[in-house]
Symmetry: C2
Subunit: 123 residues, 2 copies
Protein backbone atom coordinates (compact mmCIF):
# COMPACT_ATOMS: atom_id res chain seq x y z
CA UNK A 1 0.00 0.00 0.00
CA UNK A 2 1.36 3.39 -1.00
CA UNK A 3 2.08 5.72 1.87
CA UNK A 4 2.96 8.61 -0.46
CA UNK A 5 1.05 10.14 -3.29
CA UNK A 6 0.59 12.95 -5.74
CA UNK A 7 -2.52 14.98 -6.43
CA UNK A 8 -2.57 16.65 -9.82
CA UNK A 9 -4.64 19.76 -9.18
CA UNK A 10 -6.30 21.30 -12.22
CA UNK A 11 -8.91 23.94 -12.91
CA UNK A 12 -11.75 21.77 -14.19
CA UNK A 13 -14.26 22.50 -16.95
CA UNK A 14 -17.85 21.73 -17.89
CA UNK A 15 -16.79 19.58 -20.84
CA UNK A 16 -15.83 16.14 -19.59
CA UNK A 17 -13.28 15.78 -22.41
CA UNK A 18 -11.30 18.69 -21.02
CA UNK A 19 -9.79 16.33 -18.44
CA UNK A 20 -8.29 13.94 -20.99
CA UNK A 21 -4.69 15.27 -20.90
CA UNK A 22 -4.79 15.18 -17.11
CA UNK A 23 -6.04 11.61 -17.17
CA UNK A 24 -3.23 10.73 -19.57
CA UNK A 25 -0.75 12.38 -17.26
CA UNK A 26 -2.13 10.46 -14.29
CA UNK A 27 -1.74 7.18 -16.20
CA UNK A 28 1.84 8.04 -17.20
CA UNK A 29 2.70 8.77 -13.59
CA UNK A 30 1.05 5.59 -12.37
CA UNK A 31 3.05 3.60 -14.92
CA UNK A 32 6.29 5.28 -13.90
CA UNK A 33 5.67 5.13 -10.16
CA UNK A 34 3.35 2.26 -9.22
CA UNK A 35 4.54 2.69 -5.64
CA UNK A 36 2.80 6.08 -5.39
CA UNK A 37 -0.92 6.89 -5.20
CA UNK A 38 -1.64 9.30 -8.07
CA UNK A 39 -4.96 11.13 -8.24
CA UNK A 40 -6.57 14.14 -9.88
CA UNK A 41 -8.45 16.94 -8.12
CA UNK A 42 -10.19 20.01 -9.49
CA UNK A 43 -10.90 23.56 -8.44
CA UNK A 44 -14.33 23.72 -10.05
CA UNK A 45 -16.81 22.00 -12.37
CA UNK A 46 -15.27 18.55 -11.87
CA UNK A 47 -14.83 16.24 -8.93
CA UNK A 48 -13.20 15.31 -6.67
CA UNK A 49 -12.08 18.56 -5.14
CA UNK A 50 -8.80 18.63 -3.23
CA UNK A 51 -10.39 17.89 0.15
CA UNK A 52 -12.25 14.88 -1.26
CA UNK A 53 -9.12 13.57 -2.95
CA UNK A 54 -7.13 14.00 0.27
CA UNK A 55 -9.80 12.26 2.34
CA UNK A 56 -9.82 9.29 -0.04
CA UNK A 57 -6.02 9.07 0.04
CA UNK A 58 -5.96 9.26 3.84
CA UNK A 59 -8.48 6.40 3.99
CA UNK A 60 -6.06 4.33 1.89
CA UNK A 61 -3.27 5.00 4.35
CA UNK A 62 -1.44 7.65 2.36
CA UNK A 63 0.38 10.04 4.67
CA UNK A 64 2.54 12.24 2.41
CA UNK A 65 0.92 14.01 -0.52
CA UNK A 66 2.54 16.30 -3.03
CA UNK A 67 0.03 18.67 -4.65
CA UNK A 68 1.05 19.70 -8.17
CA UNK A 69 -0.88 22.68 -9.59
CA UNK A 70 -1.38 22.00 -13.29
CA UNK A 71 -1.76 25.66 -14.14
CA UNK A 72 0.33 27.72 -16.49
CA UNK A 73 0.12 31.06 -14.75
CA UNK A 74 -0.40 32.19 -11.18
CA UNK A 75 -3.48 34.37 -11.13
CA UNK A 76 -6.38 34.56 -8.71
CA UNK A 77 -7.04 30.83 -8.81
CA UNK A 78 -3.58 29.91 -7.58
CA UNK A 79 -2.92 32.96 -5.44
CA UNK A 80 -6.30 33.05 -3.67
CA UNK A 81 -8.46 29.97 -4.28
CA UNK A 82 -5.76 27.32 -4.12
CA UNK A 83 -4.47 28.15 -0.60
CA UNK A 84 -8.07 27.95 0.64
CA UNK A 85 -8.44 24.54 -1.01
CA UNK A 86 -5.25 23.36 0.68
CA UNK A 87 -6.51 24.61 4.04
CA UNK A 88 -9.80 22.76 3.52
CA UNK A 89 -7.96 19.61 2.48
CA UNK A 90 -5.72 19.78 5.52
CA UNK A 91 -8.76 20.11 7.77
CA UNK A 92 -10.50 17.22 6.01
CA UNK A 93 -7.44 14.95 6.16
CA UNK A 94 -5.39 16.01 9.20
CA UNK A 95 -3.21 12.87 9.06
CA UNK A 96 -1.73 13.93 5.74
CA UNK A 97 1.45 15.96 5.37
CA UNK A 98 1.08 18.11 2.26
CA UNK A 99 3.87 19.33 0.05
CA UNK A 100 2.81 22.14 -2.28
CA UNK A 101 4.94 22.78 -5.35
CA UNK A 102 5.02 25.65 -7.80
CA UNK A 103 2.73 25.91 -10.81
CA UNK A 104 3.71 23.64 -13.69
CA UNK A 105 3.99 26.64 -15.99
CA UNK A 106 6.82 28.03 -13.90
CA UNK A 107 9.06 25.02 -14.43
CA UNK A 108 11.88 25.75 -16.91
CA UNK A 109 11.74 22.26 -18.43
CA UNK A 110 7.99 22.58 -18.98
CA UNK A 111 8.59 25.93 -20.68
CA UNK A 112 11.26 24.31 -22.85
CA UNK A 113 8.83 21.57 -23.86
CA UNK A 114 6.23 24.22 -24.70
CA UNK A 115 8.79 26.11 -26.79
CA UNK A 116 9.71 22.91 -28.66
CA UNK A 117 6.03 22.24 -29.26
CA UNK A 118 5.41 25.77 -30.57
CA UNK A 119 8.29 25.43 -33.04
CA UNK A 120 7.84 21.79 -34.02
CA UNK A 121 8.12 21.17 -37.73
CA UNK A 122 8.66 24.83 -38.61
CA UNK A 123 11.15 25.47 -41.38
CA UNK B 1 11.42 41.67 -41.60
CA UNK B 2 9.80 38.42 -40.55
CA UNK B 3 7.21 37.05 -42.91
CA UNK B 4 6.26 34.22 -40.58
CA UNK B 5 5.20 34.25 -36.99
CA UNK B 6 3.70 32.47 -34.03
CA UNK B 7 0.86 33.61 -31.82
CA UNK B 8 0.81 31.99 -28.41
CA UNK B 9 -2.89 31.93 -27.57
CA UNK B 10 -3.74 31.72 -23.87
CA UNK B 11 -6.83 32.10 -21.73
CA UNK B 12 -6.03 35.34 -19.93
CA UNK B 13 -6.78 36.33 -16.33
CA UNK B 14 -7.57 39.41 -14.28
CA UNK B 15 -4.24 39.26 -12.45
CA UNK B 16 -1.54 40.75 -14.64
CA UNK B 17 1.07 38.40 -13.12
CA UNK B 18 -0.79 35.40 -14.56
CA UNK B 19 0.81 36.10 -17.92
CA UNK B 20 4.40 35.81 -16.67
CA UNK B 21 5.06 32.24 -17.86
CA UNK B 22 3.65 33.13 -21.27
CA UNK B 23 5.88 36.19 -21.45
CA UNK B 24 8.84 33.99 -20.53
CA UNK B 25 7.87 31.54 -23.23
CA UNK B 26 7.59 34.36 -25.77
CA UNK B 27 11.09 35.57 -24.85
CA UNK B 28 12.53 32.05 -25.15
CA UNK B 29 11.00 31.67 -28.59
CA UNK B 30 12.24 35.08 -29.71
CA UNK B 31 15.74 34.15 -28.56
CA UNK B 32 15.61 30.81 -30.39
CA UNK B 33 14.01 32.14 -33.54
CA UNK B 34 14.79 35.84 -34.10
CA UNK B 35 13.64 35.37 -37.69
CA UNK B 36 10.05 34.82 -36.56
CA UNK B 37 7.54 37.30 -35.16
CA UNK B 38 6.39 35.89 -31.82
CA UNK B 39 3.40 37.40 -30.03
CA UNK B 40 0.86 36.60 -27.33
CA UNK B 41 -2.92 36.78 -27.64
CA UNK B 42 -5.66 36.10 -25.12
CA UNK B 43 -9.21 34.79 -25.10
CA UNK B 44 -10.40 37.06 -22.29
CA UNK B 45 -9.36 39.54 -19.60
CA UNK B 46 -6.09 40.46 -21.34
CA UNK B 47 -5.17 42.06 -24.62
CA UNK B 48 -4.49 41.76 -27.47
CA UNK B 49 -7.10 39.29 -28.61
CA UNK B 50 -6.28 37.08 -31.55
CA UNK B 51 -7.76 39.44 -34.16
CA UNK B 52 -5.75 42.36 -32.78
CA UNK B 53 -2.55 40.33 -32.71
CA UNK B 54 -3.15 39.15 -36.29
CA UNK B 55 -3.87 42.69 -37.48
CA UNK B 56 -0.63 43.95 -35.94
CA UNK B 57 1.35 41.10 -37.50
CA UNK B 58 -0.21 41.73 -40.92
CA UNK B 59 0.75 45.41 -40.66
CA UNK B 60 4.34 44.28 -40.11
CA UNK B 61 4.25 42.19 -43.27
CA UNK B 62 3.80 38.81 -41.63
CA UNK B 63 1.92 36.44 -43.91
CA UNK B 64 2.11 33.00 -42.27
CA UNK B 65 1.05 32.65 -38.65
CA UNK B 66 0.98 29.54 -36.54
CA UNK B 67 -1.47 29.80 -33.64
CA UNK B 68 -0.46 27.69 -30.65
CA UNK B 69 -3.20 27.18 -28.04
CA UNK B 70 -1.51 27.22 -24.65
CA UNK B 71 -4.24 25.23 -23.00
CA UNK B 72 -3.94 21.90 -21.25
CA UNK B 73 -7.36 20.48 -22.08
CA UNK B 74 -9.87 20.94 -24.86
CA UNK B 75 -13.10 22.10 -23.31
CA UNK B 76 -15.57 24.75 -24.37
CA UNK B 77 -12.90 27.43 -24.76
CA UNK B 78 -10.97 25.49 -27.37
CA UNK B 79 -13.87 23.63 -28.96
CA UNK B 80 -16.24 26.58 -29.24
CA UNK B 81 -14.64 29.96 -28.49
CA UNK B 82 -11.30 29.41 -30.18
CA UNK B 83 -12.67 28.64 -33.69
CA UNK B 84 -14.71 31.83 -33.47
CA UNK B 85 -11.60 33.78 -32.53
CA UNK B 86 -9.76 32.31 -35.49
CA UNK B 87 -12.63 33.25 -37.80
CA UNK B 88 -12.58 36.82 -36.45
CA UNK B 89 -8.80 36.99 -36.85
CA UNK B 90 -9.01 35.73 -40.41
CA UNK B 91 -11.61 38.39 -41.22
CA UNK B 92 -9.50 41.09 -39.55
CA UNK B 93 -6.29 40.04 -41.30
CA UNK B 94 -7.28 38.42 -44.61
CA UNK B 95 -3.70 38.51 -45.94
CA UNK B 96 -2.55 36.06 -43.30
CA UNK B 97 -2.48 32.30 -43.78
CA UNK B 98 -3.16 30.70 -40.39
CA UNK B 99 -1.93 27.34 -39.21
CA UNK B 100 -3.76 26.07 -36.14
CA UNK B 101 -2.06 23.40 -34.06
CA UNK B 102 -3.35 21.16 -31.30
CA UNK B 103 -3.53 22.21 -27.66
CA UNK B 104 -0.17 22.19 -25.90
CA UNK B 105 -1.52 19.74 -23.30
CA UNK B 106 -2.05 17.13 -26.00
CA UNK B 107 1.61 17.02 -26.98
CA UNK B 108 3.35 13.87 -25.65
CA UNK B 109 6.61 15.71 -24.92
CA UNK B 110 4.75 18.37 -22.94
CA UNK B 111 3.04 15.60 -20.96
CA UNK B 112 6.45 14.00 -20.35
CA UNK B 113 7.80 17.32 -19.06
CA UNK B 114 4.76 17.66 -16.78
CA UNK B 115 5.32 14.11 -15.50
CA UNK B 116 8.99 14.87 -14.79
CA UNK B 117 7.96 18.05 -12.99
CA UNK B 118 5.38 16.20 -10.87
CA UNK B 119 7.99 13.64 -9.80
CA UNK B 120 11.01 15.91 -9.48
CA UNK B 121 13.04 15.33 -6.35
CA UNK B 122 10.77 12.58 -5.02
CA UNK B 123 12.54 9.69 -3.36
Amino acid sequence: MADAGIVLFAHGARDRRWAEPFEQLRERLRARRPDLAIELAFLEHMSPDLAEAATALAARGVRNVRVVPLFFGRGGHLRNDFPLEVTRAQAAAPAIMFEIVEAAGEDPAVLDALADFALSGLA
